[in-house]
């Protein structure tokens, strides 16, 4: 004879438990099912689509009348259970007593109603069952309907979105500073809020409800700060609490919820419990996945198997169409934890992984959640992600490609992967630009601006363009130097040499520039190439130089200029310092700053005053420091063996000689030197374009350092024995760079392009070539080593500095 099983509560957990039970064996138990709602089991988590109108009730029913009948379940829907007598093993209901051998309690939870005045008014609803949904839909049909949803959690927002979809004006009032604070961090919370606001839902965070006002029905919600929000209906969605009054009255153990063991048994071995009414190992659950697990465990144990409930990491998704968010695990900021964050502002994507001890412990995603399950698996498996950490955030498609092959890595990037951080350009943006007709790297740059700001993503942009264009793509080396030409920098320099082109108009004509006068990008480059190629012949075109090089001072953000006189090797005199101090006083210089290159910067000088201040500095024997130039900047030194007990050579003396030899020269970009007197390297020579470290036996010559946007240590070019050799090597290296590097490439970038071996061969191995390079450099210096300040202090280029007319004077007359 079959045993009797009574089930109290016809929700999702009990429905699933009966399913497991009956599928395994439908002869062991005769089941009686009590449900407070006048209907059977339906998928409660799909209430939101019913509210928004995307689904009908019929579509969310999980077990219909036929199912109950065919499985012989005695359904007692709408019949209230009033008590349980465990001694006599009967369930007491409105219509009498029902005996049981085993009892399954699945009474679920009740919505928490905050105890504010007015909570009993007509129109205050919870969001828990189909009845609530029907009531809400009735309000939505009234003219100009307004709703306030109290609670900005999962449930509240689903209600808000559904009501808005039904045409109501909806305001969400949330106690916490950002929405869904249990599932989302602040960033994702704000993205979600922005999306909801875009749909016309007003969101008020950090808002405490003071009371709900109205005569006999809801009229408005009043907040603590006095704000009043008109409403026909108020939905309370601030939380749920386990519903276990029956079990409590029957003397079963409880805490926050009805206490159950790993086998889903209460402290009475014949009474099981599942769902939102239970508390297992201090946790009450409100999401469906663990409830289904409980149902399965309870069914197994009712059948006599021993199975235990093991809570697993659960993830959350918001069921609002178009709001894609995903969260799982623990994403609180705890010391020792690290995070990987990916953002794409243009597409509203935010992804954050919280890493603890090389394992993912928390996931928050918004906008694109496709990789959520992949991350969640790693979280559940406690997988060590140290190996794939660098690319982890890009998800499985990236992890699949080999990071060694850049093209494969680019191919595997998802569309939303950020390519250009400066301009917020993703892979998808670039692919879209190409689909819309962009047919070259220059097109892609013009349309998207990717790689045109800091330029660090140029490689990635180029690879992506090549990949997307396929066979139509021209090698990046051949990419035009700007939009005015298809010729590369290298090509243009070759043509200047081969065709003996000696002016900017000549280059533009011969090489078929597509614009009449070039642009702000190509003209300075062309001017430099001509300056470098034809010293003594080419007449510098000031109008093709950036303003700093045209007026020989650095423009500041407010349009004033800075003045930096040269201090050879960082050595100055009391006389020079006095002259600088006097000039600063005379021209009301607001800021006097000591630079990193061992000299003094006078900041905030008016443009009109420049020739005069230069004249004063010239009078004290000082010349321009070229602090504004793509040319030789400073030679930083330590005091060397004259003073320092560790010094091996006269580092200051060599620094002065180098600076005297090199100053005034123009180059593709700025050029900085340093000479240290011993390997302690106080002058920081190992991050300069050219550095010298003195040792007992001579001089170590170092090249290709950087300490700016990129940080790079120098490579050893060679070691020489005398100062003369050091100077010759330095001049030859500078000339090789001047003749070959692309405009605006620092030496380290150029070396990376041509190869260190090639540079060494040209300068160290080929002594004749070195001498020829040095000779060409010093030949060029006779034309360029002239103080530009002196020329202008004596009236040269006056049009650059004086206003053409002063109408304020005319008006005053």
């Amino acid at each position: 004879m079959a045993m009797k099983l009574a089930v109290i509560g016809a929700g999702m957990a009990s429905g699933r438990a009966m399913e497991h039970l009956l599928e395994a064996n439908d002869e062991i138990y005769d089941i009686t099912l009590f449900g407070a709602e006048p209907r059977g089991n339906y998928n409660r988590i799909m209430l939101s689509p019913v509210l928004s109108g995307e689904k009908s009730y019929e579509e969310i029913v999980t077990h219909d009348a036929e199912w109950y009948e065919s499985h012989g379940v005695d359904c007692r829907f709408g019949e209230w259970v009033t008590g349980i007598d465990r001694m006599r093993k009967v369930v007491i209901s409105e219509k009498g007593e029902t005996p049981y051998d085993k009892l399954l309690i699945a009474t679920g939870s009740s919505p928490f109603i905050i105890p504010v005045p007015g909570r009993d008014l007509n129109g205050v609803l919870a969001y828990r069952d189909l009845g609530d949904v029907h009531a809400m839909l009735e309000y939505a049909e009234k003219p100009d309907p307004k709703a306030v949803v109290i609670g900005g959690g999962l449930l509240g927002l689903e209600a808000a979105a559904g009501l808005a979809e039904q045409g109501m004006k909806v305001t969400v009032v949330h106690l916490m500073p950002h929405l869904m604070e249990r599932q989302l961090d602040q960033s994702a919370g704000f993205l979600l809020q922005a999306e909801l606001e875009k749909r016309g839902i007003e969101v008020i965070c950090s808002a405490n409800t003071k009371e709900i006002v109205g005569k006999d029905k809801v009229e408005a919600v009043v907040l603590d700060d006095g704000r009043r929000i008109e409403a026909d209906m108020v939905v309370m969605a601030v939380g749920i609490r386990p519903n276990f009054g029956l079990a409590q009255a029957a003397g079963l153990k409880y805490n926050r919820g009805l206490l159950v063991s790993d086998e889903m048994k209460t402290d009475d071995p014949d009474v099981f419990a599942v769902g939102e009414c239970v508390e297992h190992q201090d946790v009450c659950y409100g999401l469906v996945a663990p409830l289904y697990d409980m149902a399965k465990v309870a069914a197994k144990n009712l059948l006599g198997f021993h199975e235990t409930f093991k809570p697993v990491e659960i993830s959350t998704k918001l069921k609002v169409t178009g709001c894609d968010l995903f969260s799982a695990g623990d994403f609180a900021e705890v010391e020792g934890r690290e995070e990987i964050v990916y953002r794409d502002a243009t597409q509203g994507i935010y992804k954050r992984l919280v890493i603890d001890d090389d394992k993912i412990v928390g996931i928050v995603m918004y906008g694109d959640i496709s990789d959520g399950p992949w991350f969640l698996q790693k979280l559940k498996d406690k997988e060590d992600i140290a190996e794939i950490r660098d690319t982890l955030i890009f998800g499985p498609s990236f992890a699949g490609g080999s990071p060694q092959d850049p093209m494969a890595a680019v191919a595997a990037l998802p569309d939303e992967a950020e390519i250009c951080g400066c301009n917020g350009i993703s892979k998808g943006n670039i692919v879209a630009a190409i689909k819309a007709g962009a047919s070259s790297l220059a097109d892609v740059q013009a349309i998207t601006k990717a790689s045109t700001s800091c330029g660090t993503c140029l490689g990635l942009t180029t690879q992506l363009t090549a990949l997307t264009l396929g066979g139509d793509f021209e090698l990046p080396e051949a990419a035009g130097m700007c939009k005015c030409t298809d010729h590369s920098h290298e090509d243009v320099r070759k043509f200047i040499h081969l065709k003996s082109l000696k002016s900017i108009p000549a280059i533009m004509q011969e090489l078929e520039w597509t614009t009449s006068g070039g642009c702000a990008s190509c003209r300075p480059a062309l001017n430099y190439y001509l300056v470098a190629k034809w010293p003594g012949e080419y007449v510098d075109d000031g109008q093709s130089r950036f303003v700093n090089e045209r007026v020989h001072a650095n423009i500041q953000k407010d349009g004033t200029y800075s003045v930096v006189p040269r201090m050879f090797g960082g050595i100055t005199t009391p006389g020079e310092l006095r002259a600088i101090a006097d000039a600063a006083d005379k021209f009301n210089v607001p800021t006097v700053h000591v630079t990193g290159g061992q000299r003094i910067d006078l900041l905030g000088v008016q443009k009109e005053d420049l020739p005069e201040i230069w004249a004063d500095l010239n009078a004290a024997g000082m010349v321009s420091g070229h602090a504004y130039a793509k040319g030789l900047r400073t030679v930083k030194t330590c005091v060397g063996k004259d003073h320092c007990r560790f010094g091996t050579q006269d580092s200051t003396g060599l620094g002065i000689k180098l600076e005297k030899a090199l100053w005034g020269a123009w180059s593709p970009h700025k050029f900085k030197l340093a000479v240290s007197g011993c390997p302690r390297n106080c002058a920081e020579a190992t991050c300069k374009d050219f550095g010298v470290v003195c040792v007992d036996s001579g001089y170590k010559l170092l090249v290709g350092g950087a300490a700016g946007m990129d940080l790079r240590e120098t490579d050893l070019l060679t070691t020489v024995e005398t100062e003369e050799e050091a100077i010759e090597h330095c001049a030859a290296f500078y000339q090789l760079y001047r003749e070959n590097a692309q405009y605006l490439h620092r030496p380290y970038k150029w070396i990376a392009k041509v190869g260190y071996d090639w540079v060494q061969k040209q300068i160290v191995e080929d002594a004749e070539n070195r001498k020829a390079l040095a000779e060409r450099f010093f030949y060029s210096q006779q034309f360029y080593q002239a103080d530009p300040w002196a020329e202008r202090a004596q009236g040269g280029e006056a049009h650059e500095f004086a206003p053409m007319a002063d109408l304020t004077m005319v008006a005053a007359e």
């Binding site: 423009i555 004077m809 005319v810």
Partner: protein, 112 residues
């Protein structure tokens, strides 16, 4: 009635160069193109106030020296994706002299 005022000779500005005219309402940049056309615009980029007279001129455009915004000298409109506008002033070149419409500058002052 316009009131054109002589502000200097065409040769006072180098080709593809610019000079400044001081007014009660701030500086006006006067540009001379490679083709000897002359334009007058406020010497102030709407982005961060950069002095446009110090920028590099190309064709009938100028690039601001501070952040590379590009403006059409004819219209004062920002080019490309940037959005902004620089006030322009009528100028004439007669017999090698540059004349600016004094009233348009005054009107600008009055409007502010």
């Amino acid at each position: 009635m316009s009131n054109f005022l002589d502000i200097g000779g065409l040769d006072d500005i180098p080709q593809q160069g610019a000079r400044v005219v001081k007014t009660e309402n701030g500086c006006i940049a006067v540009f001379r193109t490679a083709m000897d056309r002359v334009y007058a615009l406020d010497d102030k980029c709407p982005h961060k106030g950069g002095p446009l007279s110090n920028g590099i001129q190309h064709g009938e455009s100028v690039t601001c020296p501070l952040h590379n915004w590009v403006f059409d000298l004819n219209s004062g409109e920002a080019q490309g994706a940037d959005e902004g506008f620089v006030q322009t002033y009528p100028v004439l070149v007669e017999a090698g002299r540059i004349l600016i419409d004094r009233d348009s500058i005054n009107a600008q002052v009055a409007a502010e």
